[in-house]
């Protein structure tokens, strides 16, 4: 039976644009030896190829502002993912980072350069003779261990305490304390962020946390990693969000009001993947991403109607707020007190900018930031009903970690 095209629709016309034609080039390459047992780590092989490619291109490695590392997952720590590569190569700042494998990694890199997210990408693809590919490999303790702990997270939380902060809120708790120490502030900034998001959540019928809290309630919430409380942490839930993205030209023919991507940036800093090696408060990936964004955006921080700082932990939201330039580093606490809307018990920045109007991760539930994108899009469409911000035309979404997957995106109604 011929089943080809069984879902086809003759009314659908496909475009095949090629705006990147002849606009992107390969300028360097590097290769390692090939061998059945080179007795080296995946990272070591990747670094050798990277160093050779940089030399072949004749560029300074600090010209690299994008990295596509090796792996099937966005994080893929413990191998030759972008975090490990950037840290190990001492590359200071990237505005685009990603992992990929097989043929897609090269295409991702071309996309990134063409889009303007970065100018010079290092692509590194490593392979090890895997234990499932060779019976001899399955007897090699190094390969066995790499296959056992090679996935995201690796051996975090197992034998070696020194790896416990590989990916966790525990280092964030320590960073929160260090922030208060270095800037001589209280914990109020974090508490007010939690109160604001919970107030919004209480007005969102889809939110998991429908009860608003006070600042006293914040301080009374259970201590998990001192000084971080359970109210500092987003609420784990089951959920999903999805988006359809197309060209502006195509969007104009569709029934929904388009929301445009005005500018965006990713961010990677040279710290790599170990949290205890955190750079200064204003050097981490959030700052790289926001600086990359403002360098590309005509819309400025004072033009924003909506602001969605990632609230996986309140520490993230404070960092995004300060990195975005709403206030100076360390001043979020005082700034939030000056920006407080007492009638609704929420933040309202610069006298106009509404913050995380659905409650975000702290109030609505943990969506890894995707519910910040969806709320921003609905607000800009003007379809949010009772919580619609009148005339909302611009939004900043800032999501990610101090080290991995930070993004800064300005959306607008055009």
């Amino acid at each position: 039976m011929d089943v080809s095209g069984q879902y086809s629709n003759p009314l659908v016309k496909r475009m095949a644009r090629n705006p990147l034609k002849d606009k992107i080039a390969v300028v360097g390459l590097g290769s390692t030896a090939y061998g059945r047992d080179l007795a080296r780590s995946e990272l070591s092989l990747g670094l050798e190829a990277a160093v050779k490619a940089i030399a072949d291109a004749g560029i300074d490695r600090q010209e690299i502002d994008g990295i596509c590392g090796s792996g099937m997952t966005p994080l893929a720590m413990g191998g030759a993912g972008f975090l490990s590569l950037q840290g190990a190569l001492g590359i200071e700042r990237c505005t685009w980072v990603k992992n990929g494998w097989l043929g897609s990694a090269f295409v991702y890199a071309v996309e990134a350069v063409f889009s303007g997210l970065c100018d010079t990408v290092l692509v590194v693809q490593t392979n090890l003779r895997g234990v499932g590919m060779s019976r001899a490999a399955a007897r090699d303790p190094f390969r066995l261990r790499a296959s056992k702990y090679g996935d995201v997270g690796g051996d975090v939380g197992l034998g070696d305490f020194a790896k416990r902060w590989f990916h966790s809120g525990e280092p964030y708790a320590a960073m929160m304390r260090r922030y208060m120490h270095d800037f001589g502030t209280s914990q109020d900034a974090f508490g007010l962020m939690a109160v604001s998001n919970r107030s919004h959540g209480a007005r969102n019928p889809e939110a998991v946390m429908r009860n608003a809290i006070t600042l006293d309630g914040y301080y009374g919430s259970r201590m998990i990693w001192q000084p971080m409380r359970v109210a500092d942490m987003d609420v784990p839930v089951d959920c999903a969000e999805a988006f359809i993205i197309t060209t502006a030209e195509r969007a104009r023919d569709l029934k929904t009001k388009p929301v445009y991507v005005h500018a965006m940036s990713l961010g990677g800093a040279r710290v790599g993947e170990f949290y205890e090696n955190t750079l200064g408060w204003t050097e981490n990936a959030f700052w790289v991403a926001l600086q990359g964004l403002w360098a590309r955006s005509d819309i400025k921080v004072t033009d924003l109607d909506l602001f969605f700082p990632y609230d996986g932990y309140t520490l993230d939201a404070i960092a995004v707020t300060e990195a975005a330039g709403f206030c100076k580093p360390g001043e979020a606490g005082d700034y939030f007190k000056d920006s407080w809307d007492f009638t609704r018990n929420v933040l309202r920045l610069n006298g106009r900018t509404e913050v995380t109007t659905n409650g975000g991760g702290l109030g609505m539930g943990r969506a890894g930031g995707s519910n910040l994108y969806s709320e921003a899009i609905r607000q800009l469409r003007g379809t949010e009903g009772e919580r619609q911000v009148k005339g909302a035309g611009t939004a900043l979404v800032g999501i990610g970690s101090f080290f991995h997957d930070p993004s800064a995106v300005v959306l607008c109604t055009g």
Binding site: A39, R40, S41, L43, S44, L47, V51, R61, G78, S84, G87, A88, L89, G90, P141, F142, R145, A146, K148, Y149, G150, G154, D155, G157, L158, G159, D160, F161, A162, K163, R164, W165, E170, P171, A173, A174, M175, R177, R178, H181, R222, M223, I224, W225, Q226, P227, M228, R270, G272, E273, F274, Y275, E276, N277, T278, L279
Partner: protein, 150 residues
Amino acid sequence: MSNTAASDDEVFKYFHDVKIDHDNIAHYRGLMAKKLLINRCDDCGNWIYPHRPLCPKCLSWNVIPTPVSGKGRLYMYTLIMQSRDPDMPLTEPIQAAAIELAEQPGLRYLSRVVNCPVEVLAHDMPVALTWIEENGRFWPVFQPTGKAHG
């Protein structure tokens, strides 16, 4: 532990729950002998952590696992009040701390602070390396060096 260095197989067996690789096995072999080894560039002198084979400062591959003095300062810390495993509640908070090693600014090692009351913990306090035994294995931890805490 005998004076002869452990074989690769012995390191894998001892650290059965750690991702041992070609870049970090020397560090773990060191831990078995109660030595804290951190990679150092033999060309430019830069200390490198985590365990990587390339110097991020000068791109030299001449990287040597080297003992550290064990002196440092408490850069940042948290008290872990709650275990992630619901069946293994903590009896007391874990004093988890990033120790900035004396060898180089920004060179930090995640560890625990022992022999130190919680109210004494403070940013930048001087600490020194010591070792604790846990389930038959020795691990590097740090304790205050101030006179009051001997």
